[in-house]
Amino acid sequence: MTQTKAPREQSAQQRAADVREGAEQWMLAYRLMLRIRFFEEQVNDLYRTARMPGLAHLYSGEEAVAVGVCQALRPDDYITSTHRGHGHCLAKGASIDRMFAELLGKEPGYCRGKGGSMHIADQETGNLGANAIVGGSAGIATGAAFSSKMLGTGQVAVCFFGDGALGQGVLYEVMNMASLWKLPILYVCENNLYNEYTHNAETTAGSMLARAQAFNIEAEEIDGQDVRLVYATAQRLVERARRGDGPGFLLANTYRFHGHHVGDIQRTYYRSKEEEEYWKAERDPITILGNWLLEEHVADAAQLERIRSEAQEEVTAGVEFGLNAPFPEISEVTEHVYA
């Protein structure tokens, strides 16, 4: 499960062309990944300083998956997300300030403070919502793809979920339907090796890829730390789905740098410090892309540093906005139960 494919071999010419063509996109990817990283570090800080109610599940380390996949999407394409959803929201275009407001239970939050970290939804960016039920959005995403097909809108739906969601039967139920009806959907399994505090070797028999292939779904396993590879593969599967050639399944191997949630500090009983260090040092998707940008002379160190500080500023401004925002009126508690 842990082997990952290297980016395909390319001719030097081809590569130079790709670099030129992709330069703007990869610079944006770099910015988006940093935005997510700084956002999450700020969330962690809010938790540690007891300024945020409840918990949150940080996406740091997995940024290339959300960003690479969402770069392959149209603005009106749909995504569904998970308990570890901040990265997906941001990659699909959510604004930092309204996200912080939501995490803090404030009125200008995406859900007026009613959803919180695990339920951010934003229909303007096609985000049908994070979901606190593992595998809980598989049906929703498949239904969105169904709508797209029925209404002929050409939209694709992306369903993000973790390796743990492979334990949920409903995923197989809807993958079967998506395949039967050739729905325009991409199932993205973010394999970060763990279901909470349990390694997936203990919970997941056989082959993850084969679980989708059994339903005749086009499936690929890739290194989820390489945003360019994620993008290229997602692009192929998304366009295939959009053309009506049926659903795809993308198994992206990745890693979460923090604990399962912000409060998960003692982790050595389920994963080693060495493993964590290895991923942070060698497999950080931001470093990987940054190095590539430098090597290919797409950007110089100063440019990257500028992006870094801009992203940091955006996050700082966003959290200020959230902290200063008002709570909803108490009377809102009984609003929005029914439409």
Binding site: A121, G139, I140, T142, G143, A144, S147, E173, M177, A339
Partner: protein
């Protein structure tokens, strides 16, 4: 069971056109056909809904008119189709999901309760789930414990869901139209044994608002609150009671959520006695809520405790001699009403 229902509110809500006699099954079918014609975003998905028209044959003919793109046979995946329905509802469609037997909603409870019911609220009012889940309830079909339950109490309990239980062809049609046009998830329970029940429906388009109880028969001595399959039982009991000079009022809430508390309470205040009859298990069932509401709201008017008759608290047995014990009968209602009215 053949007592004709007195649909008192009918004339007030119906259009001005002609009335026709149809069965409850036909009423459902023609409602679906009318809504499918009216709104291209409506579709039906479920097991054996297309050519087979469901095992109850309620949907027969729909696929011929609307085609397999809109009347969709699904795999046997109750959770999956419910989940797909939620997502489709959030993105512009108005799905009608068919769960063959109400007993199977256990398979879909997470999708119904954690997804459908909560999306609107959790998103701060932005996303909507105009989803209808049609399913069945009722025993005495000799199909044993896993095909005979009336589990509407579960969903009635959940904020964000609406729950409708028609007891006549007229109500079935009016309530189902409302359900389909509603922007919220609605769970619609049909009594399997009532599909052949006949009644008048108007030719004109009409809807019945949710949360409006219907007085199926007016009376002065005792209130019989009855739902779905139990309405005909209550009406039959009312006939029997009339012969004993006890005037029973039969009130059908029609929707458990929202609940028309006012009508229930007003009736009990007027009659000073009430029995609540429902085919779900009695314990922690719909009779409990209705009885508690009445006992509270009519407290100072009641001459006797509010009594409840639900299904017996046992898994439904197969053997007919046993199964017949488990569902409230007109005789049981009559007997209890007599006792409450001091006529032992």
């Amino acid at each position: 069971m053949s007592t004709p229902s007195v649909v008192s509110s009918q004339s007030s809500q119906a259009g001005t056109g002609q009335m026709r006699e149809v069965t409850l099954g036909q009423a459902i079918r023609e409602t679906l056909a009318e809504e499918l014609r009216r709104d291209p975003t409506v579709f039906i998905m479920g097991e054996d809904v297309a050519e087979a028209g469901t095992p109850f044959k309620v949907l027969s003919g729909l696929v011929e008119e609307f085609g397999p793109q809109r009347i969709i046979d699904s795999p046997i995946s109750e959770a999956g189709i419910s989940g797909l329905g939620v997502g489709a509802a959030m993105t512009g469609m108005r799905p009608i999901i068919d769960i063959m037997f109400g007993d199977f909603i256990g398979l879909a409870m997470d999708q119904i309760v954690n997804q459908a019911a909560k999306v609107h609220y959790m998103s701060g009012g932005k996303l909507r789930v105009p989803l209808v889940i049609r399913t069945t309830l009722g025993a005495t079909r000799r199909t044993a414990a896993q095909h005979s339950q009336s589990l509407h109490a579960w969903v009635s309990h959940i904020p964000g869901l609406k729950v409708a239980l028609p007891s006549t062809p007229y109500d079935a049609k009016g309530l189902l139209k409302t359900a389909i046009r509603d922007d919220n998830p609605v769970i619609f329970f049909e009594d399997k044994m009532m599909y052949q029940l006949k009644g008048q429906v108007p030719d004109d388009d009409y809807t019945i608002p949710f949360g409006v109880a219907d007085v199926k028969r007016a009376g002065t001595d005792i209130t019989l609150v009855a739902t779905s399959s139990m309405v005909q039982i209550a009406l039959a009991a009312a006939e029997q009671l009339a012969e004993l000079d006890i005037s029973a009022e039969v009130v059908d809430p029609r929707t458990t959520t929202p609940l028309d508390k006012e009508t229930l309470i007003a009736s009990a205040q007027k009659t000073s006695r009430a029995i609540v009859i429902d085919e779900g298990y009695e314990r922690y069932g719909v009779t409990a809520e209705l009885a508690a509401v009445i006992a509270d709201g009519a407290f100072y008017y009641l001459d006797a405790p509010v009594k409840r008759l639900g299904a017996m608290d046992v898994p439904v047995p197969f053997s007919p001699v046993l199964e017949d014990q488990t569902v409230p009968t007109a005789e049981a209602v009559t007997q209890l009403a007599k006792t409450l009215c001091g006529r032992v």
